[in-house]
Symmetry: C2
Subunit: 390 residues, 2 copies
């Protein structure tokens, strides 16, 4: 055997590209980018000697119009473009390069998040808030992609489920948070952009949150799963998807609750159910919680898309005031609203706040800096979760 | 409520970029790429008016040196570069653009696979073989990322586990396939590049494979999880990782088996355990199966990296012939070897075949076209799985 093995060839001369062999497609450059320095400044590099102009755009930059601005990068004599940021506060960030106007990902950074049809490179600056977003040496929950039967929609659909550390080995029952995505999102969004499993792991380990199951369903009822993960195969994802805000999701949501309560060890009562969502998911959470006014004791509306009913004929949006009144009379433990001061939905959320005050519906109002951004939704989640199931 | 909602603004004027708001980073182009035509030719497009030269590289192109070749794309008057391939046989493919020498992903294709430090766009051409790789309207298994205790390595580690359709609702026990990745891979590789869950779903639905659990552990013992998913955070993944082929994985593998047999409903006996892997994972499967010669009745070596022992002092590689002899005497049901005729490991696998013949160890030898590529490993998996647990 030794002879055989030694006979093949000297393994020591094998380099990465050789053993990877025919499968390698091009391959990365020898550059490290981004470089996160100890003082929290960040350097970005791109080897593009033939480019005339390279810019960097990042989600920490001031917004110009609807998108973050960009800054010029500088080319050195070897054709490598560089930019070093100011010190960034601890958080998860996204960025891209603009090479002669063409938006590209950083070929030296293998980590991206998909938001609708766009991939954006990500990196993390360590510190107090982002400590919650890291994989720390604490017990970790399990994250499952599971398909469930949705008879009201006549299809099998996929959801992402976080079960807390210990779920596999203990025999306890757990409370459930239903956590909903925004327009253009899907059952992957809270995991990929929201760091939901890391936030839960870390809060539970610190004793700041009760161990709970987090169910992240897909709110686009015409999809069976996230783009690329379902029966439609690979296609270009769209932002606006039919039937997302016409009541269909609200009307059929109990298929999800029923599946979860049948398949997992849960405490199946109002005091142990929460529902929260961002943007369109805030809209869904508002309506689902009043449509089933005896189901959820905890409601979270994050930058909620308080927009007019898109389908005036849909029965689900009839009698809104009456059902909110019913929700109030039935009682609940928490109705939490988070909104950024520069969010384009800020005024709509202030108006909803006034409406709740006029109705005498108790709520918690959390006003933050910033706009309609994942940075805020991660913060809202990390503030909301510790308030649940106490 | 209606008044409030209508007062905010007219939702109908909201376009994607507006509701997405400040979070949008640039955004995609209005192009669809790739376009897969009915005759199985594929068109690729890139809007890059300032580029001097744009090439396309794809893993269906003839290999030049160690990497696939490339072809020139043609620019039209609007600055959009296009290339249309010949008809491609049904499969999953990877590609990238080379813009003035800079390798970039297709900004109009949100789907990529990570292989070591490189992201590669993917697409699928439909047909008989790739039908196994699609999400079809069949019952789907659950895919979980779960952390386990590895006392022999003194850390918590992450694995990917496929449980077959029905696992959550029935009370049956299942056989287990341990499926190992290659060098530079991790517990995500068989899911992301190997389409393992789709292959299992489809074979089980067709009655071609027994329902089984598939455990995909991480064979890089110094990692706790795939790059970006573990305690090391985001960093540039390397191809060569210390301690991958020095016996440590083989010596500590029973931590994985023990965890699986404690945590899942499995048939915990030799006749219901299989182990298989690609490249370095084939090397691991060879050694693990002989190191525990009474544990696995099914062994699969896919393009196995039959390379010399990297750590001559390691006890795990002592007495190889003796332990193979023991494995033979104990008996097993299947010893399956797959290798491509142009694989750089072809000769080494032929020599191993001869060694087994000389020893009188029964085996199945599957020689295929092609080299050291995922296309072959998906085919080998889809041929190997139907042979298990019969």
């Amino acid at each position: 055997m030794k002879k055989l093995l030694m006979a093949c060839f000297a393994f020591t001369v094998l380099t990465g590209i050789e053993l990877m062999g025919q499968q390698a497609l091009g391959g990365g450059q020898a550059i490290v980018s981004p470089e996160i320095h100890e003082n929290h400044t960040v350097s970005f590099h791109l080897d593009a000697p033939h480019a005339q102009e390279v810019k960097l755009t990042g989600d920490w930059m001031p917004v110009e119009g609807w998108v973050p601005g960009s800054v010029d990068m500088t080319k050195n004599e070897k054709g490598i473009w560089t930019y070093t940021s100011e010190a960034l506060e601890p958080d998860l960030y996204g960025y891209a390069f603009l090479v002669d106007g063409l938006r590209i990902n950083d070929p030296n950074n293998a980590f991206v998040s998909r938001d609708i049809a766009t991939l954006t490179n990500i990196f993390m600056v360590d510190g107090q808030q982002s400590e919650l977003y890291k994989v720390n040496p604490v017990p970790h929950g399990t994250v499952s992609r599971i398909w469930y039967d949705a008879p009201a929609l006549n299809k099998k659909r996929r959801m992402t489920v976080y079960t807390p550390p210990g779920y596999e080995s203990d025999r306890k029952s757990y409370p459930v948070l239903y956590l909903l995505h925004g327009a253009g999102g899907d059952e992957e969004a809270w995991m990929e952009l929201g760091r939901a499993s890391q936030i839960l792991d870390n809060l539970i380990a610190r004793g700041k949150a009760k161990p709970m199951i987090v169910v992240m369903p897909n709110g686009n009822v015409i999809q069976d799963a996230a783009p690329g993960e379902g029966s439609e195969g690979f296609y270009k994802p769209a932002f606006m998807i039919p039937k997302t805000m016409d009541g269909t999701y609200e009307e059929t949501f109990m298929d999800i609750v029923n599946f979860v309560e049948k398949s997992y060890r849960v405490k199946a009562k109002k005091s142990h159910r929460a529902i929260a969502g961002l943007s369109m998911g805030g809209f869904h959470s508002l309506h689902i919680s009043r449509y089933y006014p005896n189901t959820f004791d905890y409601v979270g509306l994050f930058s909620s898309a308080l927009v007019p009913n898109q389908n005036p004929g849909a029965t689900v949006y009839q009698n809104i005031d009456l059902s909110l009144e019913q929700q109030k009379q039935n009682g609940y433990k928490l109705y939490w609203i988070g909104i950024g001061k520069t969010d384009f939905l800020y005024r709509a959320n202030l108006e909803y706040k006034k409406k709740l005050e006029d109705m005498g519906m108790p709520f918690t109002f959390r006003e933050s800096e910033g706009g309609h951004i994942w940075k805020n939704w991660r913060i809202y989640l990390s503030e909301f979760v510790p308030l649940l199931f106490n």
